[in-house]
């Protein structure tokens, strides 16, 4: 009986995992097929190992510069939300007055408003700031959209830290500001992991705002570059599309796999508090 339960558990886990992986495998197969391959012939799960697709895809799609743009936007935005967000969260968590309560509620309510709601009016502001087709402008937009959630996570986390450490530091002569940066900020690592995983991938993959604010080819981020590149094929040349998609996916998958341990832990801890 026990063995039967174990077997069925493992079988279902293997099935679930393959369900998650098979589409990736098929993308890989398509990306390695010869341009002229007739799909219905031979073993369709066996690719041709035709690597030229990757070279062609890389050269024709500007995906390289798009990856750099996405990276710049993501790092800038994450830097902003982690510094600004944790500072705001610190005052909210440590000083329970009416102003801070109001700020917290404002962020809490804003968490429920998706970015697309204010994107059109934001466009006019971005024109006035000369921020259209700039990486910093896009980073600021993404940071502002991610800020409510960041403040929420950090506030919950700072509340769980004992106040005594702050008080000890202040008695030792630290100002509030240095207390935060030297004592509290390093302790926020688990919350930062949650903030990075939940917002970072979303900013990296942002498409709904990129369509508005990154129209110039040299400033395209990954999804914007891919969609522009794919549209010119009108549904043909899947081998090139697939190869470019694989290139586009490599940085995120790589980052996820390298940091998966701390990221998954941060996610569970963050979700627990949330």
């Amino acid at each position: 009986m026990r063995i039967a339960a174990k077997i069925s558990k493992y079988t279902s886990i293997i099935l679930i995992c393959s369900l998650s992986l098979i589409p990736f495998y098929i993308l890989l197969v398509l990306s390695l097929n010869r341009p002229g391959r007739i799909h219905s012939e031979g073993n369709i799960f066996m690719p041709d190992f035709y690597l030229q697709n990757y070279i062609d895809g890389w050269q024709k799609s500007h995906i390289g510069s798009a990856i750099i743009n996405s990276a710049v936007i993501t790092f800038l935005a994450l830097f902003i939300i982690i510094t600004f967000g944790s500072m705001a969260a610190y005052t909210i968590a440590r000083f329970n007055n009416k102003v801070n309560k109001a700020i917290f509620w404002m962020f809490l309510c804003s968490m429920m408003i998706p970015g697309i709601i204010n994107t059109v009016p934001l466009y006019t502001l971005m024109i006035r700031l000369n921020a259209i087709n700039t990486l910093w402008g896009m980073a600021l937009v993404c940071a502002a959209n991610a800020l409510p959630f960041t403040v929420f996570i950090f506030t919950g986390f700072i509340r769980s830290l004992p106040r005594e450490i702050d008080e000890a530091a202040i008695i030792d002569g630290c100002s509030l500001f240095t207390t935060f940066w030297l004592i509290n900020f390093p302790l926020l690592k688990p919350a930062m992991a949650a903030v990075v995983i939940i917002n970072g991938f979303g900013i990296w993959n942002n498409y709904a705002q990129a369509v508005f604010f990154l129209q110039e080819r040299s400033k395209h981020n990954i999804p914007q570059a891919l969609s522009v590149y794919f549209q010119q094929f009108a549904g043909a040349k899947w081998h090139l599309m697939a190869a470019t998609a694989v290139i586009a996916v490599i940085p995120v998958v790589g980052a996820f796999l390298v940091f998966q341990k701390s990221l998954m832990k941060g996610l569970t801890d963050g979700a627990l508090k949330g």
């Binding site: 429920m112 940071a143 202040i170 498409y207 998609a245 996820f256 979700a271």
Partner: protein, 287 residues
Amino acid sequence: MRQSKIGLHTFMAVPALVLFTLFFLLPLAQGIGMSFTDWDGLRTPNFVGLQNFFNFFKDTRALNDIKTTVLFALGSASLLNLVGLVYALIMDGKFRGKGLARVIIYLPAVISPLIMGYIWYFLLQPGRGFLSIAIKQLGHSEGLTNWMNTYCLQMLILVLVNVWQYTGMAMVIYLAGLQGIPKELYESAKIDGAGYGGQLRYVTLPLLLPSIRVNIVTNIIGSLAVFDVIMALTDGGPGYATESLSIYIMRMCYGAKTGYSTAVAMIMFLIILVPVVISMRLTRERK
């Protein structure tokens, strides 16, 4: 904390507040103003009162977009939570390869929904899609039926792709919730004679309510703002059949109907408010 230190701390929230006001609250307020004008993005706008909103409800395309968006959100949120919960229950507890399995299941969630949409487009395209060819090789000469012809099938496919991508996220939240349930409760439930079903009904589910609330609220908001998957899989087509409100806002803005597109955004905001308030109420009352 000591009273004398209060002066400085208020400034620590200032950077966040400035950024948020400039790039979020101000545009939001502006958008409310713009939604009452006929602005086309260039000329000076005229105040037209509620005209944009009347136009919206007369526009069959807009009404269809509401239907598509709401159906997508309801389908996604319910399926995501159901599948995510089942996955979490299977993946809970200790077994070999647990970490690896979790990473694999979460993996789709870190990839751009746009790319996900394209992957499934390669798989599901009628006639020459991968699945279609696989079915043909198995001996069914017609291959995959042409799901692009039927609205229900299109919606089902869009929902399933979305669920496939984000189940890992729902699962992780439920796993975190499951970890928080004290083991003693299961012991005492066992002593009281509860089987697996009884434990699930009287211990697991009631204690998971906070996680369920978080999941449902985030899923509904996320799915109501759906943009990428639909752009990649159907491009809102055929015609405007599977267009979502977000895509409609973008297209109206590019179609020099800026005032109108902000009005659509306001309507979308009101739609989002409904499920959020209801689900918050419901789960709070049960406590």
